[in-house]
């Protein structure tokens, strides 16, 4: 299909003449490219770009304005209203060192008789982590402080304690117990979760509507576990209210070291990864990385195959109706309605029309028996045959009779033609 200019040496001048580059602009055909010029592209997309820019700026602005909320909640390094830097600072003044840990393993390792372990959100821990933590802290002889533990964590971390489903209405509560720390502190904002059942030897303080919001459960080797119904007493902006600061310092300052455990997502992943080895861990890494590279190749192949060489060309197609469709439809209708009478009369009429000129009857009288039949009888060689029932008879009784009628009409016509 492709014809090229001959490249043989004899055709060199021709080629040279052909290869007139843009030196002579008059001979240049007009540009036909459909690709957009950069200017057109800019005109087309600038609206979208401006909209995207506005959206981005708005998003950044909103993020900046709202970034203070709930950032570093209960984090002893955070100075936000929801952080706990003030407590950590006050504890440091009293010679208590605070260390932040984010994994269960670290918290477990840090547990000891001279250590307080604070679990900031025990409900976020998985069952496995809770079990590990509980095993490490029960017999350590140190103190474990759980901040607002709920049903998900109580079962493992503080067995025999259950939380009441209804939280307390009022944050502020009175000590009302013999625990020295509570008595010294006075009123504090511990209202939040309330604990319905607890062991008999537990100290129950700060009752809200008869259920305690602070529990101290004594453990082996002089250790204990403290459950606080709400984190408010540790927060920067609530610390100076009522007896919050006093209660917090006494609860957390009973040992020289404070380990502040903030559960994190990465910790969870590592904890499960180390325990359960998945299918992918068992594969040699070469296979995995090789497959990744194959995936890259597959994406490239998809781009290769996905690019079409030019657009599809549409075409207006002509209608395709068979001219005989109406007749075929009528035949099906006859059949469906068992219209033997109509079919028979059509066949008989057609035969009569064809017979009339053969036997010398004018076409206008082809369908009157009085004219047609005598002429027909005269034309037939076999006497005694009466064509009347065939040509003018009643409609056939069944389909077989109709088929037979058609054949007989054909036979009659043949006979007349040959006579």
């Amino acid at each position: 299909m492709t014809t090229r200019h001959p490249t043989a040496p004899t055709a060199a001048p021709q080629n040279a003449q052909d290869s007139t580059p843009p030196a002579r602009p008059g001979e240049q055909p007009p540009a036909t490219s459909t690709a957009r010029t950069p200017r057109q592209l800019w005109t087309r997309t600038r609206g979208l770009l401006i909209a995207a820019a506005i959206l981005l700026i708005a998003a950044v602005a909103i993020a900046l304005v709202r970034s203070e909320a709930a950032h570093g909640r209960l984090d002893p390094r955070s100075a936000d209203p929801g952080g706990s830097r003030a407590v950590a600072h006050l504890l440091a003044d009293r010679g208590v060192s605070t260390r932040v840990v984010t994994t269960t393993a670290e918290a477990r390792d840090a547990a000891g008789p001279d250590t307080t372990v604070l679990v900031a959100s025990p409900d976020l821990l998985t069952d496995r982590q809770q079990a590990q933590l509980h095993a490490a802290t029960t017999d350590s002889g140190g103190r474990t402080v759980l901040i607002a533990p709920g049903t998900p964590s109580l079962g493992t971390l503080a067995p025999h304690v259950t939380a009441d489903p209804a939280p307390s209405l009022d944050a502020l509560a009175r000590p009302g117990c013999t625990l020295s720390a509570a008595r010294r502190a006075g009123d504090a904002e511990t209202g939040g979760r309330r604990y319905a059942t607890y062991p008999a030897d537990a100290d129950t303080c700060y009752r809200s509507e008869s259920l305690p919001t602070l529990l101290r459960l004594p453990e082996a080797k002089g250790g204990d576990t403290v459950l606080i119904g709400a984190p408010d007493i540790l927060l920067n902006d609530r610390l100076d209210e009522h007896g919050n600061a006093s209660l917090a310092l006494q609860l957390l300052g009973s040992r020289p070291h404070l380990v502040w455990y903030l559960p994190s997502l990465s910790d969870d992943a590592r904890a499960t990864d180390s325990e359960r080895r998945s299918f992918f861990d068992l594969l040699p890494s070469g296979w995995l990385w090789g497959t990744l590279q194959l995936f890259v190749a597959a994406v490239l192949a998809a781009f290769w195959r996905g690019r079409r060489l030019g657009r599809l060309v549409p075409e207006r197609l002509p209608v395709a109706i068979r001219a005989s469709e109406a007749v075929e439809g009528r035949a099906r209708l006859y059949r469906k309605a068992n219209a033997r009478d109509r079919a028979a009369s059509a066949l008989r009429t057609a035969t009569r029309t064809r017979l009339a000129p053969l036997i010398g009857v004018p076409p206008s009288q082809a369908h009157t028996p009085e004219t047609l039949l005598p002429a027909l009888t005269a034309a037939l060689h076999t006497p005694g045959q009466d064509p009347r029932p065939l040509l003018f008879g009643p409609p056939p009784a069944n389909d077989a009779a109709l088929t037979a009628l058609a054949d007989q009409l054909d036979a009659l016509e043949r006979e007349v033609r040959h006579s």
Partner: protein, 436 residues
């Protein structure tokens, strides 16, 4: 911009070193960074598509069934050689089904500053205008890893003309025409005849044609002879309404009508008559008027090429009015339409008298051989019902034709293959009888 299979293959092969020697991000980067760099180089070295200059030349018209060559001249003004895949896109019916892929794609290599000609061969399967779509060029770099792709709009139209299959009948019909001309044919004077000569009376001649004045000057009886008049007008009217869309065989009725019209046009223009063409459904679709004999056939073919059947009922009143406007003088009006009962009885019959008053009218219609076949089918119940329905249809058609004939119209009802010669014969018969 587009990737090639080679890039994907190299990336796939890259999974071996990654898997065997360096199963890490480093390995992935070590394989993919050089690949990306090679692609970038390839892209930079590929000849730009936007700056190519394209022009077309070649055939603008082709008879249906023949092939047309359209040449595309591609100039590469850049300093980089062009190695490209080129697609010259045309509507699908420009090629035989299944061959369009190979026919539209070309490989082309053009050194810097030179030009090459690429020929696309079209083999259209339908009548009408074929407009070229875009030319898409995929220019690849020296490594064949990455390509630039772009399109150019280079307009070109190839008109696919009616095939005029019936031209094979033309020699025999022309021979009959010459016979007709050579014979001092008619002794009776009629409309559309002109005085030819006087000759001696031979027994058997019509006594009414004796010219007594000439006889008085001579000693023998002289008779006048007449011959068909030349320079008559013929108006061919194509009905492009819904009835022309029905397919007989594998072509619409309209195509068979066109074939017949072309044969009649060719014959009549040789006979010295003037032929006009009108195509009409609810408005005038094509009109050829007042062409000299030499340029008539090209004009007819050109006017017919883009005609398509419209799925609307033909406006018979408008058609008659347009025909009367086109043929103000006495003419032979050849109406190529259908003999279906409803359109004729409701549309044509009420307005036919306006045409017959001034003109000789000939109605030609394409019959469907399938129906004749159905009428003869026997054997089982289904076949007999088919036969009955076909007989009914034939009877209706016959009755419609009778109605027309009773109004002085000549009617031709023939299958597509027979229509053109039948129409030519009818024309010759009318001419011989001096009824034009």
């Amino acid at each position: 911009m587009a990737l090639t299979g080679r890039t994907a293959l190299l990336a796939a092969l890259g999974s071996l070193p990654v898997g065997i020697w360096e199963p890490s991000w480093t390995g992935i980067l070590a394989v993919n960074t050089p690949l990306a760099l090679a692609c970038a180089c390839d892209f930079a070295l590929a000849a730009p598509v936007r700056r190519l200059r394209l022009t077309r030349s070649g055939d603008t018209a082709v008879r249906l069934g023949d092939s047309a060559d359209v040449t595309l001249t591609v100039t590469n003004p850049s300093r980089r050689p062009l190695r490209a895949q080129l697609r010259d896109a045309w509507p699908p019916s420009s090629w035989l089904p299944g061959t369009e892929f190979e026919a539209s794609r070309h490989r082309v290599t053009i050194p810097p500053g030179e030009r090459r000609r690429i020929t696309t061969r079209l083999l259209p399967t339908r009548r009408g205008d074929r407009k070229a779509d875009r030319v898409t060029i995929r220019s690849s770099g020296p490594l064949g890893l990455f390509t630039r792709q772009g399109s150019h709009d280079v307009p070109w139209t190839v008109r696919v003309l009616p095939p005029f299959h019936s031209r094979k009948h033309l020699p025999s019909k022309l021979a009959r025409l010459r016979e007709l001309d050579g014979r001092t044919s008619v002794l009776t004077r009629g409309e559309g005849t002109e005085f030819d000569s006087l000759r001696e009376y031979v027994p058997g001649d019509d006594t009414r044609s004796i010219d007594w004045r000439a006889t008085a000057r001579q000693s023998t009886l002289a008779v006048r002879t007449w011959r068909p008049e030349r320079d008559r007008h013929i108006l061919i009217v194509l009905d492009t309404g819904r009835t022309s869309a029905g397919r007989v065989g594998d072509a619409p009725r309209l195509d068979a009508s066109m074939d017949a019209a072309l044969l009649l046009g060719a014959l009549a223009s040789r006979a010295g008559d003037r032929v006009d063409l009108l195509a009409y459904d609810r408005r005038i679709r094509a009109l050829v008027q007042g062409r000299a004999a030499g340029e008539l056939l090209p004009a007819l073919v050109n006017a017919m090429a883009p005609l398509e059947p419209e799925l609307v009922e033909t406006d018979a009143r408008g058609l008659t009015a347009a025909a009367l406007r086109t043929a103000p003088r006495r003419s032979l009006v050849v109406l190529l339409t259908s003999l279906d009962a409803a359109p004729v009885e409701e549309g044509l019959l009420p307005v036919l008298s306006r045409l017959t008053k001034r003109h000789t009218v000939l109605v030609a219609s394409v019959a469907d051989p399938t129906i004749a076949e159905m009428a003869g089918s026997r054997g089982n119940t289904e076949a007999v019902y088919d036969a009955a329905a076909a007989a009914q249809a034939q009877a209706e058609r016959h009755r419609t034709a009778e109605l027309l004939i009773r109004r002085g119209v000549t009617v031709i009802d023939a299958t597509p293959n027979d229509l053109a010669p039948a129409l030519a014969d009818a024309y010759l018969a009318l001419k011989a009888a001096g009824r034009l």
